[in-house]
Symmetry: C2
Subunit: 384 residues, 2 copies
């Protein structure tokens, strides 16, 4: 097992008790972080990279994506931005394109997005189904997703597909669909919101998922202050995602729980909607995660740096809070303690920034600041 | 002179009467575009690149930057985002750092930002002085800027430097400073706004610049609906920049002039300010440009794609209007007809997107979509 010393780190964000280290170094052994500390006291290693004063942060943990789909909806986006309602298509157009796509096409489309995210510093990502909406296509999407990440989520309850009866569809999701999908997923998710699934349907689907060994997470309170957050807390969900419209009782429930509030500002950006109030959640003691929500309808971005910049501009977070939410917060939303921190024993997932401080992720919006990515100990990107 | 055929273009945005071409090709000869049209009818060339369905757009024209400076102000940014007033520093801290920097340091800092912008598709950029604020340092900054672009702007009237008397400083700008700088600049600019220079001072400085052969452009109406836009139109300025706060009379004046309204949404993004209303200007018939305003205080970004995404999200522009403003609009703001369009005879400045349509620049915010850049006929970036 070979070791790698990364030294000359101007600012090392650990997300650990050590906080931010200056003039620091990291030693990686195999796939894990073995040592962190002052560069002047760094042990030797087989190879050494000097990052010349750059900031180094944990790899981003993108805990909410919908990466498995075919086609795009740029025309729908352009129409929405022009103030027009685009009546054809929506999610159903992506479902149709996904069903029509071959495994190979789906795999290569997903690989392209995964690679795009990786180049922007994402080293762990969750991936939901939800554009198959048939037993075969949901299972197929999750089988392909499994090739890219262990954090797969069964989201058969994304919408009721065009032409289907709601009751029949919920029965399908809770019967043959979850049975076919459970072996390929870690998580069960439901889009619990206006126009999607109501409280009863949500509980029914979550129960079916849990009965098949899946762990709950929930799309909650994106479009209105509905029952989603309360159900997420009631089920001990790892995360309630979106949290755009919250009552005081919702905030209290989250604060008194282990459920992370995962905020997805790219969705509000791309749909010209009101942003969630991260400040209110943080001040109440809620753990906040930031994720991309990458999907072709409402947030077609793989950029965690954009989410950080938006969180700071629009949601009342400081750059440090936003970075924490995009790394450790995401890890908590996935109930993971091996990622999201730069600490001995963690998986060696690091991002070397073309900047002296993590603040630049918000201070320099839109600029591709990821200079190199270390994923499971493997150095990717520019060699200095 | 060698020729290059770029074919397999899924969507070619020409900004010419031809509009958007599908299944198109471009032939470049030397530094210029020689032919555009349907791929099926493309002439042969010495070399050929097939971009496999990608969209190709004109290179971005970033008509408003402050790229010549030293240091950064990330701490000021972080304090502002945390709701605190950062009382030390501001522009004066950048002035101090710039004066202290060696020519070599200034040159390499500028080179880094120019390269960063180029990788994001910027093939023409304007660059202002304004962080020297002494005869020697303003001239020095412009001499270095000239090494990177012919679009240099003398902005000695950026602010009154700390400790100086306003009247004395305006005299300095209009006397020895403009004399030392005019040989290194094309444009004269004044920050005409609350807390900077008033109408009389602005006219005095513009007159001095014009007397030295410089052409006017103006920082106008960023912080309030002041006299800037009216003065810009009165002087036949190429551009009035910012235009965040406009009266109906300002809009009418712009619409009846050749003065472009250059909007700088990254400044509003980074200072949490109200965005300008591009829709109002476009509907009135004003020519709009988009630029980065890249500077270490209020908009530290080189990303024209970010400006496009913000213009669409926040300023009422369609993706096509935003792209036009970021290319042809910028060219008009610099009174250039050799850039900003993909048309025979224009400089061969092109961007190959990792996307099938220009709409993706707004539809996929934050994602580095620039796959390759052609600058004066030279292919830079990924070779397919």
């Amino acid at each position: 097992m070979s070791s790698l010393l990364i030294t000359g780190i101007g600012e090392l964000v650990t997300n650990d008790d050590a906080g931010i280290l200056r003039a620091a170094a990291v030693v990686i052994e195999g796939e894990q972080i073995w040592w962190t500390g002052p560069a002047a006291r760094a042990p030797t290693a087989d190879t050494c990279v000097d990052v010349a004063g750059a900031a180094v942060i944990p790899g981003f943990v993108d805990s909410h994506t919908h990466l498995i789909f075919a086609g795009d909806r740029s025309a729908e986006f352009a129409a929405r931005m022009a103030g027009n309602t685009y009546t054809t298509g929506g999610i159903n157009s992506t479902v149709a394109a996904t069903r029509d796509a071959s495994d190979s096409d789906l795999r290569s489309a997903t690989a392209r997005l995964v690679s795009e995210g990786r180049r922007q510093g994402t080293t762990t990502f969750e991936c939901k189904s939800g554009y198959g909406l048939s037993v075969e296509d949901e299972a197929r999407c999750l089988r392909i997703a499994e090739e890219f990440t262990s954090e797969t989520t069964f989201l058969g309850a994304h919408v009721v597909p065009a032409g289907a009866d709601r009751g029949d569809y919920v029965d399908l999701v809770c019967g043959p669909m979850v049975a076919a999908c459970a072996g390929h997923a870690r998580w069960i998710d439901v889009f619990c919101d206006r126009g999607a699934f109501d409280a009863d349907e949500t509980r029914t689907v979550l129960d079916a998922g849990v009965a098949h060994g899946l762990q709950p997470r929930l799309h909650a309170n994106q479009l209105e202050a509905g029952p989603g957050v309360q159900i997420a807390v009631e089920y001990g969900a790892a995360s309630a995602d979106h949290c755009t419209h919250l009552t005081d009782a919702d905030v209290d429930a989250l604060a008194g729980s282990d459920t992370v509030a995962t905020l997805l500002p790219a969705a509000e950006f791309c749909t010209r909607s009101k942003f969630p109030n991260a400040r209110r959640l943080l001040d109440a003691g809620v753990t906040v995660a930031l994720a991309t929500d990458c999907n072709p309808g409402s947030a077609y971005t793989t950029s965690m740096p954009l989410c950080i910049a938006l969180a700071v501009r629009e949601m009342g977070m400081t750059p440090a809070e936003a970075l924490s939410a995009a790394t450790e917060g995401g890890a908590r939303a996935l109930r993971r303690d091996d990622v999201g921190r730069v600490v001995a024993g963690a998986r060696a997932d690091l991002v070397v920034l073309a900047a002296p401080s993590h603040v630049h992720l918000a201070y320099r919006p839109g600029v591709p600041l990821v200079d190199a990515v270390v994923h499971s100990g493997q150095w990717e990107g520019r060699t200095r």
